[in-house]
Subunit: 239 residues, 4 copies
């Protein structure tokens, strides 16, 4: 029963207990499958109290997302070593990121899996957090590009895509590390740095990968369902 029967706690404390419980349940079950009953029980309080303090299931979830997004952002920022060169800063930031997600798997699931799944409102909150991190990475890459002599700048759009890829790879690796026994935060960070920075390094010294000369590949002919006479009754989603 969570906190046992320690009654009459100040409001702020009770609220955090509720959020702790909610993150746990939301993380494991997802928004829809989580029940307010379960959350209240795990928090050790009655359901009406949850409503009194957090108003509704939606608001409760939103509070979880905001709290955990903030915690993650802060953890990453706090982990970065300011004085280092760009790659050192990235390395330290990644380590903080993987450490935090490994220690708070339910929070990470809430942010990465469930918040993006459930609706515009939460997706936007997560997107804001993500944009914050992407901006930070973008700036690191740009700084690194300035440092490299041979080639003045990477074009801005290119940098945006690269930062996106890097953050995306980090997110996927966080999932992977969380699901795979024996992969530490440090190893995950090292793998990603190897994968990313060496490549970025080449880019920045003017040696990008170039696609082979070839005729346009025909796009995959029949993408999904309509392998049946009569065709798809439901119009295919716009590309």
């Amino acid at each position: 029963m969570g906190a046992g029967k320690t009654k009459r706690m100040p409001r702020a404390v009770r609220e955090q207990q509720m959020l702790d419980a909610a993150v746990r349940i939301f993380g494991q079950r997802g928004y829809m499958a989580a029940s307010m009953d379960e959350i209240a029980e795990l928090a050790g309080v009655s359901k009406p109290l949850v409503y009194l303090y957090l108003n509704s299931k939606d608001d409760l979830f939103s509070a979880c997302v905001r709290r955990e997004a903030r915690a993650l952002t802060q953890a990453v920022r706090a982990g970065v070593r300011p004085g280092l060169p760009p790659d050192g800063q990235l390395w330290s930031g990644l380590r903080a990121f993987f450490t935090h997600t490994a220690r708070n798997p339910d929070a990470w699931r809430v942010l990465h899996l469930h918040a993006r799944t459930h609706g515009e409102r939460f997706a936007a909150e997560v997107a804001a957090m993500r944009a914050d991190i992407v901006a930070f990475v973008t700036q690191l890459i740009a700084a690194a590009a300035r440092d490299a002599h041979r080639r003045p700048h990477l074009p801005e759009e290119e940098v945006a895509g690269l930062a996106e890829a890097l953050v995306g790879a980090a997110e996927s690796l966080a999932d992977w590390a969380g699901a795979t026994e024996g992969v530490t935060a440090k190893q995950a960070a090292a793998t990603l740095m190897n994968f990313a920075w060496a490549g970025l390094g080449d880019l920045m010294t003017g040696r990008p990968w170039v696609p082979p000369e070839e005729p346009e590949p025909e796009p995959a002919p029949v993408p999904g369902g309509a392998a049946v006479p009569g065709g798809a009754a439901v119009p295919v989603q716009a590309g």
Copy 2:
């Protein structure tokens, strides 16, 4: 909606219509939030018919996952140009991947977002598909490593992590491309190749990125919830 009221179709056709509708609804709402009513209505049939043919919500979802996993795998395999060197094969495979996901965004959401969220059974089905693709990429990387003179092999574990990172980055970029106006499949593939292959190229010619010498970074101090006197009532998940 959908096909209009064309009654009395043969079973196989109706089944595909139902799957089309289900992929769409599941993709947009997620498993739990999707309702059988909505799916039946979009498919243009009554609910009992859906149950007669697909048996249950679980089985319907499973059928969606299997159909779309197969379609995606086949699209990628079909897109790969067999005769090319490893980087050319990867390039063509990535283009097919991004093209397919861009054309079937709901299917991609089902596979990447919802199936992994909802339960062991579906997660396993998606994991199998993913393993298939990861294996393919792993083999490409290994082949490329053999082709490079200077360094005989990358260690096998390293290759596994790299393939994972590459596929993860691809998945994240697919989400990103799907959410961002004006990013084409070709651009996404190019960005990823630049990001990944140039880096891999360096790795394979014996120039990995090396971490700077530095003292251990303190792990992020306050990870998540308990920023409040009295501490967390719910024990934090083990790291």
Copy 3:
């Protein structure tokens, strides 16, 4: 299944197959829990054919009840040896009864358990059959009473009650014999004859059992639910 795929049978045969299947399913599941799907499948035909021939679930059940009531009545009548004295006739009739119910357990369940449970219509059909048998027994008892010299008649109401008790005991014993391994029809009949006829014999020779003199027993004070302050909200059923 059932009859295999022997198509195009004359109507009468198909109807009997359907009734066979229906008796089996109704006997095992009861009216409500039996499904027309299951019955049609066991009969080896499609559902619309069942409706074409037997019209509705209600009518199908009714046909089962009528067929099996008739079969039971006839079996008993056929089993009675006409020339014997009353006890011999009863003995032979009981043997036929227990034999028939033992051989057709599902039919017996339909008549004794389910038809009486499901509604006025079927209860009436079974009651008619039962009345037929009770009348037969009543007449035997009356005949026996006439044969006995010492006491002219048992009063008619008394005879009715006795016949009812005898038939009731027979029905209960049929259930018991059906549920208990190793009890044959013959044994059940012998037990009942011992139980009933010896007693009836005494009655008919003017030696009834007489109740002891005693004060009226207080009726069981609070029979069922209302052991709780506030009393029963639902009025107790009329006595």
Copy 4:
């Protein structure tokens, strides 16, 4: 309906109200045909409350069966006059039995008709109750047999069958009394005592009924369904 709209009652009271309503509905309709809607309405509460307290239709039925089985057993035990000779004890017990069943006809239908029909679980609960009563009767018969001089004991198996027949007859008479206007509990008990005890009295003084000498009767020739060319498509149940 029922209690009017007296809201906010303590749980125990509401639970009894629900059981009262459930016994009534189950008794009249049977398990399958009873609907939770109807029960909730008769109890004067909303359906979710029924589920909150009683958990499921199955559990609700089970609670009814247990409550009523216990009530019936206790009513019979309480009705027996301990000091009397065996026939007096039986007489008093039977009167209590018929009185209780007459006052609680729906409860009696639940126990005797529906619980035995619906599934192993409930059948077992009723069987336990019945075994309790049969054991009591068995012991009475055995005691009476000891009291009678001329014949030392009835064999044990014989006593079991007789007790079964007696209880069965009682059950059937309870149904009959419940369905027939103007038959009182006292009359039903008297009829059964006359029927049973006089017979048992003869048995116990060594004058059993003996079957007439006769050739084996041919078993009833065509028992049930297959009076039709082509024979039964559904195999007849094993005898």
